[in-house]
Amino acid sequence: MAAAPQTVEELTRAAPRAPWLAAILNFIRRRPLGALGAALILVMVAAAIGAGALAPYDPLANDYAAMISPPNAAHWLGTDAYGRDVLSRILYGSRTALMVGLGASMIGATFGSLIGVASAYFGGRVDLTVQRIMDVFFAFPVIILALTVVAVLGTGAGNVILAIATPMVPRCARVVRSSALAVREMPYIDAARASGFANRRIILRHMLPNVMAPILIMATAFLGEAILLEASLSFIGLGVQEPTAAWGLMLRGAAVEFAETAPWMAIFPGLAISLAVFGFNLFGDSLRDALDPRLRTQ
């Protein structure tokens, strides 16, 4: 243990009743980028939860008298082509982004992990077949697979979540499988099998918890990707539909057409998307650094 004076340690000594504060400060000091990412995520979550209270206007209310107005006192970020307040739509849009992002990421990570772990556990023929099937899905570029699923299911938020989750499953499965393969060689797994525990129990109780680290990293990375993918799909008209507030939707049509004379319509939603995905990526990056022992600084 280093003897060099640490501000955090001094703080901890000074405020023993606030260990959580010490932990946070420590985190900020050691991983500033991760802290920045976490801050951005928190802002987004706060916006999503508090949209109802924070938004000055109804995101769906058209106001033709105030069409395409620049940022002013009444509308801090301006209005769009139907007179809808951009700020309100961005706040409510974070709800859509989080819902789709979390939904797709969780579904993708859950199914992907289960498949990956089970495949690693059973090994042999099962493993080979599952790998082949995953390879088939892998061979489709992400957006093409998502587009096809949308074509089958239709547009709309719920279908978009499934469409985005679909390409995520094989990617998660592959990563989790390699971690799970290492876990499978652990002696206590053999012991569990010898004791006659059911396969399902071993997978869920013993293997899965040990691969949580890569799963968590994957899920965080997926969240960012999912938000981007949703924005792309909405942008080309195959994602969430009007009049719902969604960031990708806000970038369509009039935002591009009027970009020269009314840039606020395109800049703010694009900024929102970038900051949100940026936050998730930064945080995920730091998470990966933290959980991967080889990369710690000396």
Binding site: L60, A61, N62, Y64, M67, I68, A81, Y82, G83, V150, A151, G154, T155, G156, G237, L238, Q241, E242, P243, R252, G253, A254, V256, E257, F258, E260, T261
Partner: protein, 529 residues
């Protein structure tokens, strides 16, 4: 001597007068225009997309054409037929053809070619697709008694038969080729038109060059044309703005027009016209509560079309408030009379109050929710959808929008799997027979997605179709309109599309019409320096 001086004087004054006349067309130059859609095949009888007309129509002629200088796009003019007569009973139309018209392979076009082409359109052989067959149900047979005469025999007199011959899709093909292979024209191009086919590079462009032996002497003025396929309107606008293209024949959005004018000043000329395209609301009469005419009337009363027109015309390609006919055309209802129909009242508050009252009377609760199905095409479906949902909210209807991908859309709507849905109608010519056909009872017209039967409406349609007296026809059209939009509110119209064509000021000889399928033969177009 006096004679010499007076002749010189006359000559001098003539020379002063000539510059005051319109510019003389200049020969030469290649017209370049982007086309947003590529033709699936080259056969005009089979396809329905303007993506065929824009690049391919210059290679062909039709029997008759719409007068290329008529802004309403309704006046018939001679093309391959130089004149025509109608029999007293209105059942026989005789056309006299130009002599000496040559196909691009050098052979002469005669009446047998016209007959073969129209036989293919009206009585297609098995396995051959003809999209407009239904339009000619009244035709009994087509005859070619001599080399330069074609006769159409109708079963009943019709006020719109000539209009049906003006279709820009009715290319005249060579009879010998059709006899050998009726599918030949799907993959090949060979006509009598002002331009000769040079090449078509898939995904890229179509090129045509001037036909030196064109039958209309002196035309075409252009040396050739190049149609470039571009997928996004942003690219098309950029091409015109960067002066890499001269004109786009379909239409741009109001903002694109403003950007172009701001960037190019008087190097750009803007032509505008109401468009013969409109989005209308199909109401499924088989789903409650839409079987109740009061509910349907409430839907149309809720829409403040005048405010909508003012606002949406700034961001979308819609503008005019219209009934069943394009405003400004011969059979359109004048605005003050139109304002008497439900949904067209100038007093929006009164209209909304009436809508609420009708809904209450029909037993529809406040906050009643239904799903509006819209088609997945951004312009102008999206802005109209957003507008309509907002207008319905103001009368207490909570409407959700479900957007269905364009290719799957009509399959869903035809099945009747909707409550209220966006329908769409585009025509090549403004003609009541064509524009009102949609509203006929669904057992007569499968393209009527509203699923209703209205014999009164059918009768009104037939009466106006048979009538050859223009004044009487107008009256019947008004009655039809009142019944379909107001009394029964079977369908409701949104706003008429508005065609905006900003083009290089070098382009002359092209007149805008309500139809983006007309005036694409390019024989009258010329480029100044």
């Amino acid at each position: 001597m006096k004679l010499l001086w007076s002749s010189l004087a006359i000559l001098a004054s003539a020379m002063l007068v000539i510059p005051a006349q319109a510019q003389q067309p200049r020969h030469g130059g290649e017209l370049i225009f982007p086309v947003p859609s590529e033709p699936p095949s080259y056969d005009g009888h089979r396809e329905e997309t303007f993506g065929l007309i824009h690049p391919i129509a210059p290679f062909y002629n039709t029997l008759l054409r719409v007068d290329p200088f008529d802004r309403t796009g309704t006046k018939p003019a001679p093309s391959l037929a130089q004149s025509w007569t109608v029999s007293k009973d209105g059942k026989t139309y005789t056309f006299k053809l130009h002599k000496g018209v040559k196909f691009h392979d050098g052979s002469e076009m005669t009446s047998k070619d016209v007959k073969a082409s129209y036989d293919k359109i009206i009585f297609p052989p098995p396995g051959v697709g003809s999209s407009r067959k239904g339009q000619y149900a009244d035709v009994e047979k087509v005859e070619a008694p001599d080399a330069y005469t074609v006769v159409f025999h109708l079963k009943n007199p019709s006020g719109s038969f000539i209009a049906s011959l003006l279709s820009p899709y009715n290319f005249i093909y060579k009879a010998d080729i059709l006899a050998k292979d009726p599918h030949w024209y799907e993959k090949n191009i060979m006509g009598t038109g002002p331009f000769i086919f040079v090449e078509h590079v898939k995904g890229s462009h179509v090129v045509g060059r001037r036909n030196p032996n064109y039958w209309d002497k002196g035309k075409p003025y252009l040396d050739g044309f190049r149609a470039i396929f571009m997928n996004s309107s942003a690219a098309e606008v950029a091409a015109i703005r960067g002066e890499r293209a001269h004109i786009q024949f379909r239409g741009f959005s109001p903002k694109d027009r403003d950007n172009l004018v701001a960037a190019l000043g008087n190097k750009i000329t803007v032509d505008e016209s109401p468009w013969d395209c409109i989005l209308l609301g199909a109401i499924n009469h088989e789903k409650k509560p839409f079987d109740d005419p009061r509910v349907r009337r409430a839907l149309t009363l809720a829409l403040d079309r005048y405010e909508g027109s003012k606002a949406l015309s700034q961001i979308a390609i819609v503008k005019e408030v219209a009934g069943v006919q394009v405003p400004g055309t011969p059979f359109a209802t004048p605005p003050d009379e139109l304002a008497k129909l439900a949904g067209y009242w100038h007093d929006a508050e009164k209209s909304r109050a009436e809508a609420r009252r009708l809904l209450k009377e029909a037993g529809v609760p406040e906050g009643f929710s239904f799903t509006f199905k819209n088609r997945g095409i951004p312009m102008p479906y999206e802005p109209l959808g957003v507008w309509m949902i907002d207008q319905w909210r103001r009368v207490g209807l909570n409407v959700k929008q479900e957007v269905i991908e364009a290719a799957a859309y009509f399959g869903v709507i035809r099945k009747g799997d909707f409550e209220v849905a966006m329908d769409f109608q585009c025509g090549y010519i403004v003609e009541p027979d064509l524009d009102m056909y949609k509203f006929l009872s669904s057992d007569r017209n499968p393209a009527n997605y509203g699923r209703y039967k209205d014999p009164v409406l059918d009768e009104l349609y037939d009466k106006q179709s048979r009538s050859t007296n223009v004044a009487e026809r107008k009256k019947l059209v008004r009655e039809f309109e009142k019944r379909v939009l107001d009394e029964q509110a079977h369908y409701f119209m949104t706003l008429q599309w508005h065609r905006i064509v900003p083009h290089s000021s070098k382009v002359h000889g092209w007149t805008i019409t309500p139809s983006h399928y007309l005036n694409n033969t390019l024989d009258t177009v010329w480029l100044s320096e």
